[in-house]
Every structure is written in structure tokens, then in C-alpha cells.
């Protein structure tokens, strides 16, 4: 892949990150906010992989994005467990309605 396509990948990653940020800010459902965070992590991975192609001996970017993926999987598991607990307690996962510390 020539460098112009690598620049295209960087633009795609920037767009994905911005869309993920917009999802995190505007959405009210906790699971959709989690999806926005996953989108942002994917954008960062795309950036790292686009640069890592030019570093074939060490592949630091690819290994770093592998670690990012693993941490994202652990984060998703813990976050969904928390969301299920919140749903049991408040009977909703809409973030605007979670206004009480104790119910």
C-alpha cells in the first residue's frame, strides 16, 4: 500500500474517532455509550496499524493495538456487568434517569 492510502487510513481513523465521540456525548443508553467507546478504540487501532506497516522489523504498532484490543475486551465485560447491576437496581439504563445515589 502506497503512502497516500496510508494517509487515507489516517483520515478514516479521524472520522471514526469523531463519530465515536459524538455517540458517547449524545446517546442516552448506557450500552450505546459503550459502543461509542469501542468505536474510538477501533479508530486508535487503525491509526497504530497504519503506521506499523512501515516498521516491519519490530511491529510495535500492531503489538500495541493487540494489547488495546485485549484491554477493550476486559473493559467491555466489566462495563456490561456494571450495566446489568444498574438495571437491576434502577430498572433503567438511560443515563439521564440515573440521578439518585440511593433509591
Amino acid at each position: 500500500m502506497n503512502p497516500s492510502l496510508s494517509y487515507t487510513l489516517l483520515f478514516v481513523a479521524a472520522a471514526l474517532f469523531s463519530i465515536g465521540l459524538a455517540v458517547v456525548i449524545t446517546k442516552r443508553h448506557a450500552v450505546v455509550v459503550l459502543m461509542g467507546i469501542e468505536l474510538m478504540l477501533n479508530a486508535v487501532n487503525l491509526n497504530l496499524v497504519a503506521f506499523s506497516q512501515y516498521d516491519p522489523n519490530r511491529l510495535q504498532g500492531q503489538i500495541f493495538s493487540l494489547f488495546v484490543m485485549i484491554v477493550a475486551a476486559a473493559e467491555a465485560a466489566v462495563a456490561l456487568a456494571l450495566i446489568i447491576q444498574v438495571y437491576r437496581h434502577f430498572k433503567t439504563v438511560v443515563l439521564d434517569d440515573l440521578t439518585n445515589l440511593k433509591q
Binding site: 487510513l9 465521540l21 459502543m35 512501515y54 494489547f67 475486551a73 430498572k91
Partner: protein, 186 residues
Amino acid sequence: MLQRNPHYMLQIAFFAFIILTLIGALTVLITRNVLYSAYALLLTLLGVAALFVFAGADFLAVSQIIIYVGGVLVLVLFGVMLTSKPTTSDTSTVVASERPNAILAGSRGLWLGVLLAGGLFFGLSRLLLNAHFVLFDQPISNAPTTIDTIGKQLMTEYIVPFEIISILLLVALVGAGYLAKKSIKL
């Protein structure tokens, strides 16, 4: 003329996967149905896996499909289905925004979010247009696969992070199992 270029089909596929990825991400942003956004996220994750292949990261593409599509997305779908709205029509116990005729006033932060994201994208685009990355002048490797390099690196240079991340996964597994228990004292 263009038909005889061997990279022509490759570029068409590349931009098709870019469009697939962005359409999936925009659908997550636009749709109001949580299940639809989960399936649109599937589209985006598959598109990003294909872009990994184009960037010469075959092992990462397969890992992306296995971890995200096979693990995270299934978890998200479970989360959507386990936290769906109750079917009871007893409006006294239902929270305000789920009552049928409730009027929700106040800002949702919609314009703030779109403005912030658009500004961020504008700034990043300006930065990328003006930037010239020295790394992109390096020659590209023509190794058929990256798996052997990743394996060697994981066992030599990155052995400590590799072990730490295994402990992190174990802790996350135990913690998620404990947090999702029925009778937890919050």
C-alpha cells in the same frame, strides 16, 4: 486504460470497505434503536478488520474478528437484551423518560456533541493535511505474513506486558462474574 491497472480492483475494494466502515459508524450515531446500532457496530468492526488486511496486519484482522465480533459484540447484544424495557404497563413505577406521553424538556447535548465531534474532525483533518510523516518514506516490507514477527516480539521484547495482560484478563473475568451476581451488596 484503467482496467489494465492491477491495483484498480484493490483500490475499489479499499474504498468500498472505507465506505462500509463509515456508514456503519454513522448508523450507530443516527439510529435510535439500540439493537440496530449493535448490528451497525458489527458492520463497522468487520470493515475495520478488512482495513487491517489492507494495511498488512493479517493477524490483527483475524484477532479483531475473533475478539470484537465474537466476544465484545455478543456481550453487547446480551447487554441490550438483558436491559430491555419491562413490558408492564404500570406507569407509576416506570421512570419518567419511559412513560409514553412524558415530555422531555432540556438539552440532550445533541448540538454540543455534534459540534465538538465536527470540530475535532476538522482539526484532525487540518493537522493531517499539513503533516508529513517521515515514517511513510520508509520502504514497506514484503513479508507474506506478520505472525512470526508478532510471535517473536511477544516472547522476547514484550514478554512482561504479555504476562501482565494475562493477569488483567483473569481479574476482569473474576470481577465481571462477581459484579453480575444476583445478590451483590452495592
